[in-house]
């Protein structure tokens, strides 16, 4: 059952295009993949891995989100009352899993598929299926 009230096709297309443009800019501009798990992971990695550009990318990310938030006057309300028992262990799994699998939605999903990488596509299908099953269990079973 498609929720047409919630569906925001134009924001989705514009936002997605911005994400794609950012990935293109980082690749054409510096030769690096816009994979957030890798960029964030380098921050806690060995000192050799940690470079200024990664911190600046993340800083820019927060800044860009802030600018969009202010310019739009707020597109959505913050979620309230979500279970910390889901949020914290889930986040831990995201951190561990993205390191183990070497990527996330931006690295494997956007960049991987855009580069026509079978590895990226496989990873994306895998985490999508895992996420869908998890949401089904959390929302409709438990």
């Amino acid at each position: 059952m498609i929720d047409f009230d919630a569906f925001t096709p134009w924001l989705a297309l514009v936002g997605g295009s911005l994400i794609g443009m950012a990935a293109s800019l980082l690749w054409l501009g510096t030769g690096r993949i816009a994979g957030i798990s890798g960029i964030a992971g380098a921050m806690i990695g060995k000192s050799g891995e940690r470079q200024a550009w990664q911190a600046l990318f993340l800083l820019g990310l927060v800044g860009g989100s802030l600018l969009a938030h202010l310019a739009s006057g707020g597109l959505f309300e913050p979620r309230a009352g979500y279970s910390w028992w889901l949020l914290l262990p889930g986040a831990f799994l995201v951190g561990f899993g993205t390191r183990l699998g070497s990527g996330c939605t931006s690295g494997h999903g956007v960049c991987g598929i855009a580069r026509l990488s079978l590895r990226g596509l496989t990873a994306t299908v895998t985490f999508m299926v895992a996420a869908i099953i998890t949401v089904f269990l959390v929302r409709h079973v438990f």
Binding site: L26, W53, P78, G90, T134
Partner: protein, 138 residues
């Protein structure tokens, strides 16, 4: 040059995460919840992202070096192995449990700092925990 480009690219990326509403975990979960009231918006987000990024990657094949003068850091690992599958599965479970993936975790700092800080702290802990594992002999 590299640092300036990274900062700007980050800015555009963050704006994209916000505008697309990937930074809104409830919207993400509504997309992942196929059995509920399904919101397909994120399909368009990823579709547009992949197509636009695809243009960038295709253009780069005509270039020797990136604009900054550096060589392209082309990912060398093409293996589809158990590490990839296990890692992707664990990430997917965590994404489904939280509604946030790493990028949106950062973007959400401006909307929901309480959840975002908690999420990022636990995510970083998970990354650190992985780094403590003994190195594999591949």
């Amino acid at each position: 040059m590299r640092n300036l480009i990274a900062l700007i690219a980050g800015g555009v990326f963050g704006a994209g995460l916000y505008v697309s509403m990937m930074a809104n975990p409830e919207k993400v979960l509504a997309f992942l919840d196929l059995a509920g009231a399904w919101d397909p918006s994120l399909l368009l987000v990823m579709g547009a992202g992949v197509i636009v990024a695809g243009i960038g990657f295709a253009l780069s094949r005509r270039m020797d070096r990136a604009i900054s003068g550096e060589t392209f850091s082309t990912p060398m690992n093409t293996a589809i192995d158990r590490r990839l599958m296990a890692g992707a599965a664990l990430f997917g479970i965590g994404w489904g449990m939280t509604g946030y993936c790493p990028g949106p975790g950062f973007a959400a700092l401006v909307v929901n700092p309480t959840e975002a800080v908690g999420y990022l702290a636990a995510m970083l802990l998970g990354m650190v925990a992985f780094s403590w594992l003994p190195a594999r002999r591949d």
